[in-house]
């Protein structure tokens, strides 16, 4: 498959839960080999869109076009590891579904890259939260996927682990050109990792803006003027979404 060709396209997606509209006529495209970020505040429908795009949930209407039958892998917000299987057995569990269980070299490499070499035979409860999340991440790569869905994979992790995991992801992604679709609520993270950012807002029942980041990933720093400008733009969009509180001053003064 050629780079820059769409691997997954969503057309006119609609989804509501009972009376509540979440997504309305949403369109989105993920290209082969890119890192695509879904950015938005809580309640903006990120997870719903993510679940629909990844096939975990069905849309009420609309079309999902997959090109060349891509293989999907998943990194969930909190690790979903089988507690009765060791770290390595957790990888083998998913590999078996694709006839990849004999790929020991791949597993060894992933364990080495993630620093979990010593913990192959450990059960998940013997690993720290950060290590479990690393295992969750390398499990996705263990199935040699075309597209990985990552649902806020760094949530509730410490800064050091986050930097560590970001490095790991971008390192493997750069070499393999596996497509990544990442949910985040952190604009900086989106700008540092993504080639394309979709900003979502509940008020619009979907995507309100698409941003492309052209600067090569290895050169990105938030202090870079171009990136900083993009961050400012995103923050502006977010603050427009916050309801106007100017009149509240009087009430605050009176009630306090």
């Amino acid at each position: 498959m050629n780079k820059n060709q769409p691997i997954l396209e969503l057309e006119n997606i609609n989804k509501s839960f009972q009376e509540l509209n979440v997504l309305k006529d949403l369109n989105l495209k993920i290209n082969q080999g890119e890192i695509c970020c879904l950015l938005g505040p809580s309640g903006s429908g990120k997870t719903t869109l993510f679940r629909i795009a990844s096939g975990l949930e069905e849309a009420d209407s609309g079309q999902i076009i997959k090109n060349n039958d891509p293989r999907f892998a998943y990194v969930f917000q909190s690790p979903r590891l089988l507690p009765w299987k060791s770290a390595e057995e957790n990888l083998i569990f998913v590999q078996k579904n694709y006839g990849l269980e004999s790929e020991k070299e791949l597993r060894d490499l992933l364990f080495r890259l993630s620093g979990l070499e010593e913990f192959k035979t450990a059960y998940p409860h013997e690993l720290s939260g950060g290590m479990q999340q690393r295992l969750e991440l390398i499990r996705a790569f263990a199935v040699k996927p075309d597209l990985i869905f990552l649902d806020e994979p760094f949530k509730s992790l410490d800064m050091k682990t986050i930097i560590n995991l970001r490095k790991l992801i971008t390192l493997i992604q750069a070499e393999t050109e596996i497509t990544l679709f990442l949910i985040t609520h952190d604009p900086e993270e989106a700008l540092l990792l993504a080639d394309r950012i979709y900003i979502m807002a509940a008020e619009n029942y979907g995507i309100i803006k698409e941003i492309k980041v052209k600067l090569p990933r290895e050169k990105r720093k938030i202090s870079d003027s171009e990136l900083y400008q993009q961050l400012e733009n995103i923050m502006e969009i977010f603050s427009d979404l916050v309801s106007d509180l100017e009149d509240a001053g009087e009430a605050i003064k009176r009630i306090f």
């Binding site: 089988l82 009765w84 059960y123």
Partner: protein, 250 residues
Amino acid sequence: MKNFIIKPFWVLLFVIFLIWERSAAGLNSLILPSIGESYQALTEIALTGILVESFIITLRRTLIAYGLAVIAGIILALLLNRFKLLQKTFRPLITIIQATPPVVWVSLAVVWFGVADDLTPIFLIFIVSMPVIFVNIFQGLEDMNTELVEMAQAYSTSKYRILKEIYFPSLLPALVSALSIAFAFAWKSSVFAEFIASSSGIGYQLSRANSMMATDRLFAWTIILILFMLFVEYYLLDKLKKHVSRWKNE
């Protein structure tokens, strides 16, 4: 049996034996036989072969009915978990069965099957231990981590593998605990049913000892019953429990 062989328990056992021996010394052996008399009665029943014969009869009945109860309990739990209409219909029935005292079931069994050697004990064991299995497995299914199942489905795992590698292992702790509780119920029900309505087995021997006022034999049989239950609980099931919870954070 490591758990079992711990000092505090032996100390307690020693104290109980001491009190037993002291009390027996001042009482008629019809009321409370001494340890020596009970031991003698035990050797007597062992030497005449009644011990082994009755033990095998009771064990056989228990295992048949217990096996049936385990299978039925699991199938029922799976069905009621899968089909909500069945759940709404049959769930209260299980509670009714559980709420009915065993003595009622035995009385009914005698009416229905007569003083049948096998049928009455088997019926009682089944009716008493099946709900225990059912309730534990049913609860285990209700508490199933659906996120793991979703993960497996997302990675295109077959239904068979999901059943074998997610449902089964996550149910295993509930199953082992159900097996353990239900076996205690089964063993006691078996003896109870034999006591009331059978002409063989340990329960029947207890009933005979009772009617002949052979209190030493009563004690001897009771010791056998307790020893066997301890063996099952602390040896067989303990090993199984350790094995299934090896991946748990304890």
